[in-house]
C-alpha cells in the first residue's frame, strides 16, 4: 500500500537524523532518541486503535492483541510466534520484520540491525505503557530478516 512506502521513507529519515546527530555530539547509543520517538508514537496510536475495544482481560490478552491487531495495523502482518514464561517475560517473533527485509537475508549487515528495530521497540513500549503495562523492550536479531522482540514487564 502506498502509505506504507511513505512511512518507510520517514522511518529511514528518522534513522539517518538520529545517527547524524549522535556523530556530531559523539554520543553513543543515541538509538535511545529513536526509541523515544517510537514510544511517543506507540503511546498515542494505541488510543486510536483500541478506541472501540473492550478492556483486555489480563496481561496475556494484551500481548496477544499486540501480536495480532496491533502488529497487523502497523506492519501489515501478525507476529509469527509468541512465547512467555507466564512471569512477565514475552518474546514476540517476527520472521520477516519489515525494516529488515530490505537489509539482507542472513548475517550480512547485521551490525546495522539495531538502528532499524529501535523505533519499533519504543513503539511497543509506548503502546503497552498507555495500556497500563510498564515494560522494557529490546530486540534480538540473529539472522535477518527475522527479529525477536523481548518484553520484560516491570512490576512495581
Amino acid at each position: 500500500m502506498a502509505d506504507e512506502v511513505l512511512f518507510e521513507l520517514l522511518h529511514s529519515e528518522l534513522v539517518s537524523y538520529v545517527l547524524t546527530n549522535s556523530e556530531k555530539d559523539k554520543k553513543h547509543g543515541d538509538l535511545s532518541t529513536l526509541e523515544y520517538i517510537g514510544f511517543s508514537t506507540g503511546y498515542r496510536i494505541i488510543e486510536r486503535l483500541t478506541k472501540d475495544w473492550p478492556r483486555f482481560k489480563d496481561e496475556l490478552d494484551t500481548m496477544k492483541f499486540i501480536c495480532t491487531d496491533f502488529w497487523s495495523s502497523i506492519n501489515k502482518k501478525q507476529i509469527d510466534n509468541l512465547r512467555t514464561n507466564h512471569q512477565g517475560v514475552y518474546v514476540l517473533q517476527d520472521n520477516a520484520f519489515r525494516f529488515l527485509t530490505r537489509l539482507s537475508a542472513g548475517r550480512q549487515y547485521l551490525e546495522m540491525a539495531p538502528k532499524y528495530v529501535a523505533f519499533t521497540c519504543g513503539l511497543i513500549r509506548g503502546a503497552l505503557s498507555n495500556l497500563g503495562i510498564n515494560s522494557m523492550v529490546t530486540a534480538e536479531v540473529q539472522s535477518m530478516p527475522g527479529c525477536k522482540f523481548h518484553i520484560q514487564v516491570q512490576r512495581v
Binding site: D3, L6, Y17, N21, S40, T41, R44, R48
Partner: protein
C-alpha cells in the same frame, strides 16, 4: 486509516527536533531537508504505481501532485488560484492530514509544522527535471480556515553536460 502511523510519527519527530534545535527556523529547514530526501525516492514509487508519463505542462503536474496526496496521505486537496502565467497554483486542504491532532504552543508560532511537504514536492519534482518551490500561504494550525500550499514553477532542469563536451 494507516496514515495515522505516519502522522503520529511525524508529530513525535517534530517534537524531538524542537528539543534538539534552539532556533525554530532550523527545525523548519530540517523538516524541509528530510522532505526532500523522502521526495526523491517517493517519486519512483509514484511513477511505478501510476505508470505516469511525462507531464505535458504545469497543469498536468498539478494534477499529479494532487494524485500524490490522495495516494500517499489519503486526502484530495483542490487545485485553485492559478497565476495568469500558469506557473503558480495553490492546493487547498480542508484538513491538513499532518496536523489533525496537533496544536501549536505559543513559543512555536514561527514553526512551519508541515514543512516536510514542501521538501517532498521539491525533491519529487527535481527527479523529473523540474525546479519548483512551495510554501504555506494559509495554515489551519495558525488559525486560518483552510490550509493553502502554493507551488511555483521555477525552471526546467536540463541534465548536466559532462565536462569536456560541448
Amino acid at each position: 486509516q494507516n496514515s495515522e502511523l505516519f502522522t503520529l510519527t511525524y508529530g513525535a519527530l517534530v517534537s524531538q527536533l524542537l528539543k534538539d534545535y534552539e532556533n525554530v527556523d532550523d527545525v523548519n529547514k530540517q523538516l524541509e531537508r528530510m522532505g526532500y530526501n523522502i521526495g526523491i525516492r517517493l517519486i519512483e514509487d509514484f511513477l511505478a504505481r501510476t505508470s505516469s508519463g511525462r507531464c505535458y505542462d504545469f497543469r498536468d503536474t498539478a494534477d499529479k501532485i494532487q494524485m500524490g496526496f490522495r495516494l500517499f496521505l489519503g486526502v484530495t486537496p483542490s487545485i485553485t488560484n492559478w497565476s495568469p502565467a500558469g506557473d503558480e497554483f495553490s492546493l487547498h486542504f480542508e484538513t491538513n492530514p499532518l496536523t489533525e491532532f496537533v496544536e501549536l504552543p505559543d513559543h512555536c508560532l514561527n514553526l512551519k509544522y508541515a514543512n516536510v511537504l514542501t521538501g517532498v514536492i521539491r525533491g519529487a519534482c527535481e527527479m523529473v527535471q523540474m525546479e519548483v518551490t512551495s510554501w504555506f500561504v494559509q495554515d489551519q494550525l495558525k488559525g486560518d480556515n483552510v490550509t493553502e500550499l502554493r507551488i511555483k514553477f521555477i525552471k526546467r532542469l536540463e541534465d548536466a553536460i559532462p565536462a569536456g563536451e560541448d
